[in-house]
């Protein structure tokens, strides 16, 4: 599996994470899936984090997800995955992330280091076991 992400959108994810710091940000990644299975992100939809009780958790509610999905579908896009931030923690999935992950989707994590956006990594769930594997992430530079 691999994920292509335009550089401008990568910057946008970092900015969203910086704004939400020290809480976590989250959002939807929408785009297209090539016949090879490779996903390309074409648009980001920042989501409302419904977990206001705990800054180290995020939740995108199903109603919101359905709304986004309908709007994106009208534009010929589909949800290819989600992004969220890990304030002052590595861009690797936590046990909680793995436990709640769905197959197929790309889970992009951005580390926010003392309020500054740092490295990004994308992960997918193993279809057989409760573990996540890194997928290749191509951040496209501006042309």
């Amino acid at each position: 599996m691999s994920l292509r992400l335009p550089g401008a959108l990568a910057d946008e994810i970092r900015r969203h994470g910086e704004l939400a710091y020290p809480a976590e940000c989250c959002g939807v990644m929408a785009g297209k899936v090539e016949p090879s299975g490779r996903k390309e992100v074409l648009r980001l939809v920042p989501a409302v984090n419904r977990r206001t009780d705990d800054p180290h958790r995020y939740l995108i509610a199903p109603d919101e997800l359905r709304r986004h999905e309908a709007l994106l579908r009208a534009d010929g896009l589909e949800i290819v995955g989600y992004y969220h931030s890990h304030p002052d923690h590595p861009a690797a999935p936590s046990a909680f992330d793995v436990e709640h992950a769905w197959p197929w989707y790309s889970y992009l994590i951005v580390r926010i280091d003392q309020g500054r956006g740092a490295d990004l990594a994308s992960w997918t769930l193993d279809e057989e076991r409760p573990v996540m594997h890194p997928e290749s992430l191509d951040v496209l530079s501006e042309v």
């Binding site: 709640h100 769905w102 197929w104």
Partner: protein
């Protein structure tokens, strides 16, 4: 009967790529069982080991979440659509910790909280997990620490460096006659431990300064500011903004008080309200101006209330609102506060990025050098005895303070009336001014010197020092 089940993209790998599946059944549970039987591999993602839906899996029958219907017992009709909708959840590893459990004794102790749906067991466990720092164990700190401890806030930190004095007990109800002379921290800690032995009290016997504030505050979830002076108030505000912590603010003076919840992450901070401190000496402290003893009980309780609401996430907070209380009129008013986009610490382009010198910021270090302008009580006693009427002692306190106690032979001219009554003083006489502790007396000195009086000095330590060291048996207040 046949129902259409729409399969979300992430699960199509288990349905041969199909986005819809037709299945028979009379309830949602039937259809779900049929789906899991027909497509092995789906079960792991949709249901737990006990067969119930995983909590982040949502099923919509047509447009309604089945949790709002009869869950998996909901009847289905021919032509219905069942849609699987993911909740997307996750989060960093920082708080994998669960909320602490409550013992049987704690459940009983907090039963009146547990009866409130807004608190409940979860809210009470959040209180137990919470770490609250109170700055000061005085007038405001007393009621708020007592209520926080009684409410079951698991860890309460207190910063103070004072000792319990008789004049404190008119309002500082956490202390008692039995703890006079003890440190306020020891006195408060003992009282809180008696009130609620389930909680932890952490004490910091120090003045909060720019050097230690970040290290102390960093360890807590929320700060409650019970300070009585401007430098510390700005220090607490700035440290909270820099560390992104909320600050439950309260202040009192005579018969009036105010309270708010400053949280720059979501609203204004103290500097958005007061960008600059008042000139030093303009606003007297409670020691100089007095305060009605019940008043800190009311304002401190509001601070405790806001802290508890913020921890359990209930109700509307005071973020963006300033409550003003007038005890004599018994009236609450409310001002809307806006975040100042030009705020030097929480605005769009902050100019303050670290803690500064708050004494200097509040003009306290910049006061004129009074060396040589003060006279000690012993020296004054000797001079007064030798020179007699050539030395005039002017008491610049208020008449009601004069009534409590005064020095025989002194003349009362309250500071507020002094500029209009300069004519009553002999320009050639030596003048010594005095007040309660020495602060207002210095202001009087400035007025006299500006008016051309040259032989003027101030009695160091005021009438309090006089009562302590010269006239034993004189009343003190």
């Amino acid at each position: 009967m046949s129902v259409t089940v729409t399969i979300p993209t992430p699960l199509r790998g288990f349905t041969g790529g199909r986005d819809e599946v037709q299945l028979p059944g009379s309830t949602v549970g039937d259809v779900l069982a049929g789906l899991l039987a027909a497509h092995t591999g789906l079960a792991r993602h949709l249901v737990q080991d006990d067969g119930r839906l995983r909590n982040f899996v949502n099923l919509y029958l047509n447009d309604t979440d089945i949790r709002q219907l009869d869950s998996t017992d909901t009847a289905v009709r021919d032509g219905d659509t069942l849609t699987i909708v993911p909740s997307i959840a996750g989060g960093g590893p920082a708080v994998e910790t669960e909320l602490p459990a409550l013992s049987h004794a704690e459940l009983l102790r907090y039963s009146r909280h547990l009866l409130l749906p807004e608190v409940g067991v979860e809210g009470q466990r959040k209180l137990k997990a919470a770490r609250v720092l109170t700055i000061g164990a005085g007038g405001l700190g007393s009621p708020l620490a007592l209520y926080l401890a009684a409410a079951g806030v698991g860890t309460i930190g207190i910063v103070d460096f004072d000792v319990v004095d008789l004049t404190n007990l008119q309002r500082q109800i956490i202390h008692g006659t039995g703890t006079l002379g003890q440190s306020k921290l020891a006195s408060a800690k003992a009282r809180l431990a008696d009130l609620n032995p389930n909680i932890k009290v952490e004490t910091y016997e120090a003045r909060l300064t720019s050097e230690n504030a970040l290290d102390i505050i960093r360890e807590y979830d929320i700060v409650v500011d019970g300070t009585d002076n401007f430098p510390t108030r700005y220090l607490v505000n700035d440290a909270c903004v820099l560390l992104k912590k909320p600050n439950a603010y309260g202040s009192i003076f005579r018969f009036e008080g105010q309270a708010s919840l400053f949280y720059a992450q979501e609203g204004p901070c103290y500097r958005c309200l007061y960008s600059e401190p008042p000139p030093p000496g303009l606003v007297p402290s409670c020691a100089e101006g007095g305060v009605l003893g019940v008043l800190p009980g009311i304002i401190g309780s509001i601070q405790a209330l806001e802290t508890i609401k913020w921890i359990i996430g209930a109700g509307d907070t005071l973020i963006g609102r300033l409550v003003l209380f007038d005890a004599l009129k018994l009236r609450f008013r409310e001002l809307k506060l806006r975040k100042d986009p030009d705020c030097p610490i929480c605005g769009a382009n902050p100019t303050i990025h670290e803690l500064i010198d708050y004494q200097a910021f509040c003009g306290i270090g910049a006061e004129p050098d009074y060396t040589g302008l003060e006279i000690g009580v012993e020296d004054f006693r000797r001079e007064w005895d030798t020179k007699g009427d050539d030395v005039v002692l002017v008491d610049v306190r208020e008449p009601h303070e004069w009534e409590i106690v005064h020095i025989d032979g002194a003349r009362l001219i309250p500071l507020s009336a002094l500029p209009d009554r300069l004519g009553e003083l002999d320009g050639h006489a030596e003048i010594v001014t005095h007040c309660h502790h020495g602060a207002r007396s210095m202001k009087a000195l400035e007025i006299l010197r500006a008016a051309g009086f040259t032989k003027v000095r101030s009695l160091a330590g005021g009438i309090d020092a006089w009562a302590e060291r010269i006239e034993a048996g004189m009343a003190r207040y």
